[in-house]
């Protein structure tokens, strides 16, 4: 908010909050440049939760780190653009990025015990963050800290303000981390496996909390997870990542119940499900092989050696984006109409959802 929109941005009111277009992340090594993220595109709207799902090595976390400029050298952004409400983030210098983080983008990481400073009380950490990002006095910052603790459902918040991180349970610590992420009144929250270290009963509470707060405040959320069940229950839209690329991105229900990409179908079939309505003794579907290493990404479509529906084109040519209804898919089973731009809506009526 403090940063004026960059002149190159078309900041229309209904434009998405975050636009990631063809993002490439590079790691230069002696044996060539590795690309843990290679041409990733998606958008997140205000008040919308986008799930980013994939197995280890898919590039989920590094995409999140790239968006907020937290890549560690020599890893760098090698191409594409990241635009937050009209502001280019990928070209921003470190000082400007530091102001964006916390003020405009909040973050929640997997392990709540390492996200908090063990040498400061919860109240100090919250107030400090409010002071850094908002134009408030010390007294106001402390009041906001208290309100933030109440909002995330911490019982007896007034007394807990002066408590230390080690005095909190895992679930309560993650609530504090969410309070920290939201106290600067950000527009976007990047939550990287926020419940993976927590027990299931606490996971359900934390996800419900994240969802409620973000919808209430119109904050966009990028929720990185490996858990398809969490995706189904928490997100509005989902991007399925494989080997640093998007397989498909679209409304969660569409993608999970009518996946267009064979990898998404494989992932759904391989996931055991606790729903009482399902027959649990069916054999789990198997995707042969494993995710390729960064140095050995196959030619063409990265999934083709494991794909049950691979064609000759798949190993030769990298799939281009095609739109089917509200979903964008990168797979030669769904080729973009020739002569139409990859994101052209004109192909949408020919969608062949299974």
């Amino acid at each position: 908010m403090a940063t004026p929109p960059a002149p190159d941005a078309a900041a229309t009111p209904d434009a998405p909050l975050l636009e990631v277009e063809d993002l490439v992340v590079e790691i230069p090594t002696r044996r060539g440049v590795l690309k843990p993220v290679d041409g990733v595109s998606f958008t997140i709207g205000r008040g919308e939760i986008l799930g980013v799902v994939g197995e280890s090595g898919a590039g989920k976390s590094i995409t999140g780190a790239a968006i907020i400029g937290l890549l560690e050298r020599p890893t760098r952004i090698g191409g594409g653009r990241v635009t937050l409400a009209g502001t280019r983030l990928d070209t921003m210098d470190e000082n400007a990025l530091r102001r964006v983080r916390g003020a405009r983008v909040g973050t929640v990481f997997q392990d709540p015990s390492t996200s908090l400073n063990p040498l400061k009380t919860i109240g100090e950490q919250l107030a400090e963050t409010a002071l850094a990002h908002l134009d408030v006095s010390r007294r106001e910052a402390r009041e906001r800290a208290l309100r933030a603790l109440v909002d995330v459902g911490i019982p007896a918040a007034a007394e807990r303000l002066d408590a230390w991180p080690h005095e909190f349970s895992g679930g309560m610590r993650q609530r504090v981390v969410i309070a920290l992420a939201l106290i600067g009144e950000p527009e976007l929250v990047i939550a990287d496996e926020p419940t993976t270290a927590l027990d299931v009963s606490v996971q359900a509470q934390i996800l419900a909390l994240l969802r409620r707060l973000c919808v209430e405040r119109g904050v966009g959320v990028m929720l990185v997870t490996h858990d398809m069940g969490v995706i189904a229950e928490t997100t509005d839209r989902v991007a399925v990542l494989y080997a640093g690329r998007v397989a498909e991105v679209g409304p969660t229900r569409d993608v999970l119940t009518g996946a267009l990409h064979p990898y998404t179908r494989g992932l759904m079939g391989a996931t055991p499900d606790a729903s009482p309505e399902r027959d649990s003794r069916d054999r789990l579907a198997q995707i042969p092989g494993a995710m390729p290493g960064l140095g050995a990404v196959p030619s063409g479509c990265a999934f083709h050696p494991r794909c049950p529906e691979a064609m000759s084109r798949c190993s030769a040519e990298r799939p281009r984006a095609a739109s089917r209804e509200d979903t964008r898919v990168w797979c030669w089973l769904h080729p973009p109409e020739e002569g139409v731009s990859p994101d052209g809506r004109s192909t949408s009526l020919r969608g062949t959802r299974r």
Partner: protein
């Protein structure tokens, strides 16, 4: 060597294990601290039948791994007994102990930490054969290891490789091959797939089920993941703070849970078709196991609590095919039944 029921392989009777987690004695005296005792396992009884998969589920601190360690004999119980086919793993000595160890093997969670990085696969998988005298000659060991590797979906040519040359899923297959090498009856699996990605997890779970069918293995499966339990288990025991609160056949437990904690746990597990589902969580967390709540440990979080729950731990009761430790099990059960008109467990915590 006779067991009351021939089909029962593992019999756990009133098992308890306490750990002394006090500070050093001088610190205790200086700070006037009392001793701190953690009861990791508290009066647990269960039976695992030959050829079935018994799953122990619970959240962190429920005591599931401690029970596993006592069953394989890595840890001595504070009270109670474990019998495997009539033999006691903690009381056995010498030849009896060796014989028992051959019959019980374990698969571990982390396939990176559970294989010796300096050993070749041949030595890793071949060691149990040599230790138990199943194959002494080098050529015979190599032949058997090759056959085992093929059985778990690897190649017989992999015997000369080191663990680092394999992916996580392949390493877990090596761990399974090693567990099979002594031709055991019981395999204790402690979170065998929680370090693996879903597509690899599916491969390993399918393999474990196939092996069970082919070899007549009995599994004791330790996990926190209810969806894996639903896929793997025949019988499920639910642990909360060291106590077995409910145990039942799979479908009974999933469709008609009789303990409020089981009900909450089932509701909290994310579902693939749960679009926009709201959970009926109780808002609580597992309390400090050193100072657990009095009476039934779950009572502060429980929506079915009645007078007395905070004073006495409910006795074991058999209701239908299940055993449950809850005074109000009938009321929980009525709410769980499909004809009770529940909508996705929305009434899991009714107003009292």
């Amino acid at each position: 060597m006779s067991t009351p029921d021939d089909a029962v392989l593992v019999e756990v009777e009133r098992l308890s294990r306490r750990f002394d987690v006090s500070s050093a004695w001088l610190n205790r005296i200086v700070r006037r601290e009392p001793r701190r005792i953690l009861t990791a396992v508290d009066d647990v009884s269960l039976r695992v039948r030959q050829g079935e998969t018994y799953a122990l589920v619970g959240e962190s601190g429920s005591g599931k791994s401690t029970i596993a360690k006592m069953i394989v004999g890595l840890l001595a119980p504070s009270e109670g007994t474990v019998r495997i086919g009539g033999a006691d793993p903690t009381g056995a000595r010498g030849a009896a102990l060796t014989a028992l160890r051959r019959r019980v093997q374990m698969i571990f969670q982390d396939p990176y930490a559970s294989l010796n990085p300096r050993w070749r696969v041949l030595d890793i998988v071949g060691e149990p054969m040599r230790v138990f005298g199943l194959a002494r000659e080098r050529r015979e060991v190599a032949r058997r290891v090759g056959a085992l590797l093929e059985q778990v979906g690897l190649s017989a040519d992999d015997t000369a490789k080191f663990p680092h040359e394999f992916s996580g899923g392949q390493r877990q297959r090596i761990g399974i091959a090693r567990a099979l090498a002594s031709e055991p009856e019981l395999i204790v699996c402690d979170e065998p797939t929680s370090a693996l990605d879903v597509s690899v997890q599916a491969q390993v779970l399918n393999l474990m089920r196939d092996l069970q069918g082919d070899l007549g293995l009995t599994y004791l499966f330790i996990t926190h993941d209810l969806s894996v339990v639903r896929y793997m288990a025949d019988t499920i025991g639910v642990l909360y703070l060291g106590r077995l609160v409910e145990s039942a056949p799979r479908e009974t437990l999933f469709t008609e849970p009789a303990h409020p904690y089981t009900r909450m746990l089932l509701d909290a597990a994310p579902r693939l078709d749960g679009f926009g589902r709201r959970h009926a969580t109780d808002g609580g967390e597992v309390p400090d196991p050193i100072r657990p709540p009095t009476g039934c440990h779950y009572h502060p979080r429980c929506g079915y609590r009645v007078a007395g729950c905070d004073e006495r731990y409910p006795p074991v009761r058999d209701i239908g095919l299940r055993t449950v430790r809850c005074f109000e099990a009938e009321r929980v059960l009525a709410a769980s039944r499909p004809d009770a008109g529940r909508a996705n467990g929305a009434d899991a915590h009714p107003p009292r």
